[in-house]
Symmetry: C2
Subunit: 180 residues, 2 copies
């Protein structure tokens, strides 16, 4: 089975390609960026993006989007994680969380799959906490401040990929496809 | 002359209606929400929104979008001001700016006008500073922390409307239309 993954990010494609192989799925990379609408949830944004893309492309494909959701900040930065990372960064998040007791947070990944007639979404989530300082040099984005079982994602290196929200979303998606 | 303003916000419509009247322009309110794409600038977002709307509507109209841009935070919250207000709010901004010396900020409003064949944008900007505490009970959103000539927008009440970014954008737009 062959599937098209639309993303401008080569790292994301390579990670997905490895996971797909275990399910006997061969991934094709369509390197392009696309319009993402603003929306109240990542699911809504990914669905709408895929719907808009489907009108142009007329072929099956999937896209992926992810974000960090902090409970005490009403889900901020959520759907706008990449913009927030580029502006206030990890330092900004640590400032906002300074002295805040409830440090629960989760990473969420959403896959939106256009099967040729409609769009379905698959999600993966990993729960953790916001650390009180940046730690570790691996990963990217908010990884240095996301604590999972005592270590930050940035401290976990390759081990992170085994438990990540993205992997969980991809596995759910590929499992579902294999079962059909 | 009659013009259609698409917005789900009655307050915005009423303010624009008053300003338009001075230019002999009568505003029609089309109350609807529409898809706003994510983007790197408010101008880009407003243009793309108007272009998408123009495909559906096939009539002339304009929309308006605005945001608060803080220099020391690389423009944050910028295009995502309303999401940021709903999550971390004024308190969050004050935390991010705690101890920061450079307090320069500006409100920007962008109007995107579809004239029946193409989209043009008009901007209005007002420069000020982020206060060190919330002050005043008027206005909405980030008004209590935006200092303009020693008072916050929330302390200025109706006077704010005379100098606001939105008024400046609307006046530029209406002036341009009247000159045609």
């Amino acid at each position: 089975m062959e599937l098209t993954f639309i993303t401008s990010n080569e790292g994301k494609f390579r990670e997905a390609e490895q996971i797909a192989a275990k399910y006997g799925i061969s991934l094709k990379w369509k390197k392009m960026s696309y319009l993402e609408p603003q929306g109240s949830s990542l699911e809504e944004i990914a669905s709408l993006s895929a719907e808009m893309l489907s009108k142009e492309l007329k072929e099956t494909f999937f896209i992926e989007d992810s974000g960090l959701f902090i409970e005490a900040l009403k889900g901020f930065p959520g759907p706008y994680s990449s913009y927030v990372f580029k502006t206030i960064g990890n330092e900004g998040i640590l400032r906002l969380m300074d002295g805040v007791e409830d440090r629960r947070a989760y990473f969420l990944a959403v896959i939106a799959y256009f099967d040729g007639s409609e769009v379905q979404t698959f999600t993966g989530r990993v729960d953790g906490e916001i650390s009180t300082e940046m730690r570790g040099s691996g990963g990217f984005g908010f990884d240095p401040i996301f604590l999972y079982n005592g270590r930050t994602f940035a401290e976990m290196g390759e081990e992170k990929n085994a438990v990540s929200h993205r992997r969980r979303a991809l596995e759910g998606f590929f499992t579902c496809l294999s079962d059909r």
